[in-house]
Amino acid sequence: MFRRKLTALEYMNPDSFNVNDERNLRDLIVWLEDQKIRHYKIEDRGDLKAIDSNDWPTAYKQYLGALNCPINPNDRPAVVDWLLGLSVRFEYGDNAEKYKNETAENVTNRRQSAPKVVNTNPLDALDFQSSEFRDGVNRLAKQLNITPHPDHLITLKAISKLIRTRLSPEALQKPGDVVHQGKPYPIFESDLGFETGDYVLNNAGKALRLMYIHDLRELQTKINECIVAVQTITANPKTDTKLGKVGR
């Protein structure tokens, strides 16, 4: 029943809040005081925050008294509604400039243009084009020894790939198992198979060849794994030396 106000205040689980659950209630009241109402000084919030204490009901009543709450403390739904109302009022007061221009029309427009999916991933809120983000990516790349690409999002892809393949928990524990220990091969001296007449372009061709070979190797390894998996079911090699006969 408090879903709308809880959502407006950006409470963690607006849907699962149950006013009749003592624990839920105490959590919410502490959160409201900490984040929104902030009536007590931080050091005076101790009693109210001790939600496991037997004295909590006393602290609760004192708190309502301090807020001049006109509602009977035992009528909990009414108290919660009043506290949420108070919080919304404070929230509005803090950002009056921002909210006062909001009209129903604005909200509807925004809802239509914005994707309907509710974002729960905090990363989605990041501004990927900000210079701060760009610098961060480049700094990370430098730390990981990755050559930055002019498009920092591509650099980010490379970083992600490196972390997934080389810095995964398994790779860090047993690098030998995950990271293939290849032997160096003088690829730039090898035959490309065609000639573009341009040194740089030839080298780019060689790099592409290598990437293709890498993909092909991965595919072949998977094929081999499939064969081995089937062999565990079908294989039954036999020999019978009695059958053997040496010719003349």
């Binding site: 190797r217 072949q220 294989a235 039954n236 090699p237 059958l243 053997g244 006969k245 010719g247």
Partner: protein, 513 residues
Amino acid sequence: MYRSGTVMVVRQYNEELKYLERLSPSCWRIKKGFQPNMNVEGIFYVNDHLEKLMFEELRNSCRPGTIGGFLPGVKQIANVAALPGIVGKSVGLPDVHSGYGFAIGNMAAFDMDNPKAVVSPGGVGFDINCGVRLLRTNLMESDVSPIKERLAQSMFDHIPVGVGSKGIIPMTARDLEEALEMGMDWSLREGYIWAEDKEHCEEYGRMAQADPAKVSMRAKKRGLPQLGTLGAGNHYAEIQVVDEIFDKWAASKMGIEEKGQVCVMIHSGSRGFGHQVATDALVAMEKAMKRDDIETNDRQLACARIKSAEGQDYLKSMAAAANFAWVNRSSMTFLSRQAFAKQFQLSPDDLDMHVIYDVSHNIAKIEQHWVEGRLRTLLVHRKGSTRAFPPHHPLIPVDYQLTGQPVLIGGTMGTCSYVLTGTEQGMTETFGSTCHGAGRALSRAKSRRNLDYGDVLQRLQEQGISIRVASPKLVMEEAPESYKNVTDVVNTCHAAGISKKCIKLRPIAVIKG
């Protein structure tokens, strides 16, 4: 002066020479007119020594009163150039020597889109998918030397050899049908080999167009007991050591790091099975030639249009024989691994006994090649010729994309063997083909007359080579003296640029039929 059915222009030796032109120190052209009806020119690769052998053979055939036997290699190359639908050139590799119809060491490509183009069993050979497989180990010569004799005996005990030998892997008629259809996939399913073996095999060890139903009962009866046997003739299994590394990087891609590393080479084919398939096809094709009015310069060049029923049936049964040969080499791979594992008390895995590669040097394959600026689909016949694709070719294993396809060149008993790699130049000049081995210099009969088997065996012993043979009295046929020098052959391919030297191997133990 020649067998009936052979068209032969009778000319003096000096007249013959006018049709041959030197293109480069290692390459000769055979001009049109050398034999009748040549559709394309011929070309052959030689060095000074091999050149002498080639011309001597031609001169001998020009002498009046010569009878019988095969035509000289140059003539055979030219006769192949007269077959319908041939594209590019008829190519003779440095180890070329006379064979049935086609010379051994002759490759020729036919246009799949030309309705008159032919397939010829003589262009594949009787031992269909005869080939070479090389296994590496992580052992060094010093690990093997002390137990060399025991190891050779163990290999000999595991791999039955000789004419009429029978394998030790139990096979039913049904197993054989499945093996013919599945090739190395059968060996994999039954657990005789490793997944990586398939990866490192030409065609991934299976020709998909194989159809066991097109194979005669007679061939199947001959083939059934012979799976997992080495056979006789020039076939062998050898324990070899790396003698020289020419291309360090390519060798390293093959898992060969240093001199003295021990390898196992298996040279074998499709035994009596393939022989019967070829014989059956030749009979069927003689009739088809009459029906379709196909004329050739030599009766031995029996062939049929690729699109005809006889042509298709041959390709399907040839593929079954190819699969037979791969299962055969796979079975011997399994047995060699067992032999090594027993002697060293280590698993084949621990001995790192991986297949480096497996080549087919008697086969016809449908491939795409650039001819005069156009990508064309060809039926490439390689008889005593090995496919040698360049780096980055889509049909070679991922591990060899940078080096080019490994080309395994088996020497003769007691001589060196080589690993080469394919080149771009070979792709354009010889349809990605190179030599296959030493190539015979003396006929079998001549070898038997001129050599003594006791001397041959003693010489091998003096070289420190352990040898196990089923029929010692036939070893002179396979003696190094009966063959061209494999080093000459390989150096010619390297100098001509149609493949590149990578590794040289020398034998320390030989198992032979």
